[in-house]
Amino acid sequence: MISKKIILTGSFGVGKTSLFNKFIYNKFDEKYLTTIGVKVNKKVITIDEKEVSLLLWDIAGEVSQDKIPNSYFLGSSGIIYVFDLTRPSTYKNIVKDIDYLKNITDEAIIKVVGNKSDLIDAEKLNEVRNTIMQPWDIITSAKTGENVTELFHSLGKAFIQ
């Protein structure tokens, strides 16, 4: 079994902790308790009969990625960049943020994730797709669980290849 570090990042209130909790405990909470500092947790998943241990770092959201201690990103194999599909302020810096993340890491796989898909209809989603300057990899809902397992498994799969 191999171990890999994944870091969840993005602006505040976008649902990083919620995705983390949904994936690890299959729980969702409507309440918003902002993350202070970092929380680390672990989940072992099985992909093609191989086990991968994912060490997840859930960090406090920042409006801009360069405000986050650089060393948090070191040694991570995956970066999940989450934005909130319903709040434009959470994706207005997205191009700059992703550029920055690409610059400070060399091997990490970056997944761009639009969360809270349950709050937005197809038409509105299209609107966001047309305005956002950075294509996303997947849209999720920590509330309904849509694509949450898929998100983490897609990373796991990339790690064992």
Binding site: S3, G13, Y32, L33, G37, L55, S71, G75
Partner: protein
């Protein structure tokens, strides 16, 4: 006094009036900004909830929402009235001056005095009405200063609750077993007890951790504790945070202390070793432990691959166990 100079004085008085009004507003805004400034960071974190709540509140309770807005308008009108009272007093003070000023000006002032509250309120009402019809963001701009105080209260409350829940969690999670149980429980010990025990240094847990990623290379402990992968991650996060916070390029965190427990950190190139100890530790004992760590690293950790897996972990863990826990007199042998 001719009409022209009267008009001029009229203009001047009007300008003065405007200044007085504006300066009132400016002072208000400044005060609000000041109170809010120190909470910027917090309110930044809270604003999405406030926004979400506001939205759902408005949808679910349109009637209440209207009432709140009406109340805000009323409050604002009250403040306006107060400012106007002030202005009136000012103007009355200048009665002597007014006498000399042309009757037209006096008329103007009288007129203004009488109609101002009404006109001002109408303007404000209109503004709020159009803003209400406008975007959510603008509504927030109107309401945020007022909500600021409420938010602050609620933050203080939330923080208190958070703190209490952390305290509770620490008590319940960490009191079960192992080092971390005692780590957090030991607060209650009085100094006499501690002295009477004259704790010898005891190594409770040893972790070898990949430096950047915080992934656990191997670990061993006297008693089974919580998930060691998670602890390794948290150590690394704390280390990263502290090192970043002090922005010291060539200095690294060496010790985390809690009560009379210590986590000693020895940095190597691609990994670090964290040793959790109990007991009171002297400088010379610290040196001994450092030496033991160097010895261990030299003999066992020369080739650590970048990819960490199970078999590496069990191999290193086994070695740690033999090296640190299978002999009774851990320190004496150093």
């Amino acid at each position: 006094m001719d009409k022209n100079s009267g008009d001029q004085k009229d203009q001047i008085l009007l300008r003065q009036l405007k200044d007085i009004l504006l300066s009132e507003d400016r002072a208000d805004i400044k005060a609000l900004q000041d109170t809010l400034e120190s909470y910027d960071l917090l309110s930044a974190h809270v604003s999405p909830i406030v926004k979400d709540h506001l939205q759902s509140f408005r949808n679910n309770y349109p009637e209440e929402f209207r009432k709140i807005v009406a109340h805000l308008i009323e409050e604002r009108a009250k403040r306006t009235e107060e400012s106007i009272g002030l202005i009136n007093a000012l103007i009355d003070d200048k009665a002597q001056l007014s006498e000399k000023v042309s009757p037209i000006v006096v008329d103007h002032i009288e007129n203004l005095k009488q109609n101002f509250p009404k006109e001002f309120t109408i303007v404000i009402d209109k503004q709020i009405e159009t803003k209400l019809k406008g975007s959510q963001d603008e509504i927030l701009n109107i309401i945020t200063p007022v909500l600021g105080k409420l938010i602050r209260k609620s933050i203080a409350h939330q923080f208190q609750m958070l703190k209490e829940s952390i305290d509770r969690k620490i008590k319940s999670t960490f009191s079960k077993q192992g080092f971390f149980g005692r780590l957090f429980k030991s607060q209650r010990k009085n100094s006499e007890e501690i002295l009477s025990e004259m704790d010898p240094v005891i190594i409770e847990e040893v972790y070898v951790i990949q430096r950047d990623s915080g992934l656990l290379i191997g670990s061993a402990s006297k008693e089974k504790t919580l998930d060691q992968d998670m602890i390794a991650g948290m150590f690394t996060a704390i280390k990263a945070f502290v090192e970043d916070a002090f922005k010291r390029k060539n200095e690294e965190l060496e010790m985390i202390e809690y009560d009379h427990y210590r986590i000693f950190i020895q940095n190597f190139y691609s990994y670090y070793i964290a040793v959790a100890m109990s007991g009171s530790i002297s400088a010379s004992e610290k040196g001994q432990i450092a030496n033991r760590l160097y010895d261990f690293a030299e003999s066992e950790l020369k080739q650590i691959p970048a990819d960490i897996n199970d078999s590496l972990n069990s191999r290193i863990s086994e070695k740690l166990k033999n090296y640190f826990f299978d002999t009774e007199q851990v320190l004496k042998s150093a």
